[in-house]
Structures are given as structure tokens and as C-alpha cells.
Subunit: 212 residues, 2 copies
Amino acid sequence: MSSLKGFSIACVQRLPNYLSYLKIKRYQGIENISTVTMANDLNLTQILVKKDLQQVSSIEGKPNVGFCVKRLIKDIESFLGFDNTKDAVLVGAGKLGSVLLSYKGFEKYGLNIVAAFDNNPDIIGAESGGIKVFDIAKLPNLVRRMSIHIGIITVPKQSAQSICDIMTDAGIRAIWNFAPIVLNVPDNAVVHNEDLAASLAVLSKKLKEVLD
Amino acid sequence: MSSLKGFSIACVQRLPNYLSYLKIKRYQGIENISTVTMANDLNLTQILVKKDLQQVSSIEGKPNVGFCVKRLIKDIESFLGFDNTKDAVLVGAGKLGSVLLSYKGFEKYGLNIVAAFDNNPDIIGAESGGIKVFDIAKLPNLVRRMSIHIGIITVPKQSAQSICDIMTDAGIRAIWNFAPIVLNVPDNAVVHNEDLAASLAVLSKKLKEVLD
């Protein structure tokens, strides 16, 4: 899948980058910014920056003035749904899970991990990154009670589909999957795969090109 | 960037998936496979599978027989450079670094992490995932001596650019960057960013669409 209802995934992936950049500018007291400056600072072409911004914001850049930084931030956040903080649960509090539970950067993207789950008695009851780890059996109840829509899967691939089923049965609508496996979800749910093998394929192909 | 000299990044990202699927089929003794079967099993459309395979392989699928599984595997591996194992170094043997050092799946994609580096005296000299952690000062010498082309960066974002500079000065040509920052590299090197914020943006946007 390379597009989201007409928006290119590559554009959506660049938006958090624009967002952190614009927030620094706002913090520095800069009110307006040109696409030339943005493109230079972010190592992108001006045409690309212009096209991306036109997709997510209706404001027009003024000649010699540029875009209003505050409005751009607001428009990008609302386009991505970052302005509306969403609760999430994570299943699999092992090594990779702990890295994500300790990562403090998610909140600025509107993601709040409220609880973690595991089936390992040695981990259940402990805290990881300040987040409590519960028995996986407790997931459906908590997800339903708190109307949680996002589930993060960091279990080994053998267990990933069954965890995915438990999640979607409980009402989870968006799954962020770190297990190296293709998951089947109902039509009313979506999956985004964090796929190291896919990344490695891109890197390997790029390296092949620079070495050739 | 959404293409690699004419190949779509999305296609390159799907190839490891085809590869593991085809290897299972080969293991099961299946000699030929149709794009219909592949598409069904992998939750993709037949048109997409056909297009992807045409990009990377010159073999033709025979009507009612399909593609030769062995040849497809060979062609995909050679297209991605997976048939030629490449050594890599990793800098930043903290939490995230340890996850990658312990991950046993890279070898099948032709990546062999030979050494890790850190500047923390508590970690230097230890082993992580069976890989020795050295003082960062030793990186240039080891990289030059072993002609290593791939560097993995798992340090905090404040240190990422300086590590990147050390790597490229030493001859690294491809950087797999896990730090949330845009890196500047010389023209003869490439970067691939593993960007959780970008993933989260895609997930958040998809969720917004299914909930709307």
C-alpha cells in the first residue's frame, strides 16, 4: 500500500519531521517561514515541501513572507490526528517492548501507552518505563472499559496473530505491529508494520547502488 | 524519497516478505508458484505481485504452472544484494542497540554485525547478544581494516551526527539510522532512517480514517 485515500504514505511519513522542525522555529520566536528555508534545513527539495504542505494545509504562503508557523503546526497536527491524544496498550513487555515503554517521545505525537501486557509470570506485576505490566488475560476488559483503539504488538511472531485477534475482538481498531509477520485483521481495523527486514532491504539496495 | 533509480521503495520493502514466503514454499517442496496463490497468501492484489516480480526478475511465469520458486528466490536475493553477506558495525549498545544485537534474523538478509561500540565505560568490554562492545575510539581502525560499509546508529539524537561523521570518515557508505534526527552524509554515502514518529504518523492517519 503506497497511499492513504489519496495522500502518499511518503508525505505522511515526512510530516512529523516538519512538525518538530516547525515547533523549534515557533520556540525561537519565528512567525513565518518560507518553503525554501524549510527545504534547505531539512535536506529536501522546495517543490516537495510545497507539495506536502499544500496537501495538509489550506493556508497560502505569502510572497517574501512565507507560511504562518503556528497555523502550519495546527494544520499538520489536525491532519495526522496528533491534536487528539489517543490511548494505547502494548503486548509483549520483553526487550523490544521495554524500549518502546521507556521511549518518552510518543506523547508529542498524541500517543499515550496506558498499560502493557505479557504472559510471562516473571514480568507480570512489574513496571517497565513507569508503565505497569498486566496478565494478558486482563486485556479485553481493560480495552473495552477504557475504549482503547490502538494496540502495539511486540511479541514473537508465533504469538502475533493470536494477540492481534484478542486485540481486535476487544475493539482495537489500529495495530502497530513489530512482529515480522503479515497479520490478518477485520475490515474495520488497520495495521501498520514496523518491518526491520523491509528497511534492511531498502538500505541494502541503496548501498548496492552507491557501491556499483 | 520514494524511489530508488526507478524502483519504488514500497516494492523493495515488500521483497523480503516474498523472500521468506518463497523459502517456506521451497522447503515444502513446491517447485512452481502462481501470482494468484502468492497474492492470496500474502494479502496483496495479483496485479501488484506480478508488477513487483517483473521488476526484479527476468523469468516469465508459465500459464497454469507459474514461476519457478528457486529462480525467483535467487533473483530477489541478487536484486537486493542479500546474496552477498555484508559486515556492519553498530554504535550505541544501550537498550535499543541490545535489541538489534540480539536479533538473530539479520543474517538471512545478508547482514552480519561484527562489532558494537559505545562510550560508556560500564558497557565497553562486555558482550551484548554475543557481540563484543568496544570503545568508540576504536571504530575508525576496525572499519578501515575490515573494509566495512554499513554502520547502524542507535545513540541518542544529540550524538547521532558526530557518530555519523566518524563513520563516514572511516569509510562507511550506508547508514541505518535509528536516532530521530536528519543526518548529513557525503554524496558517496546513503542513509536509511528507522523513524518511529513517521510510522506513528501513518498509523494515526489510518486510524483517523477508519474511525471517521
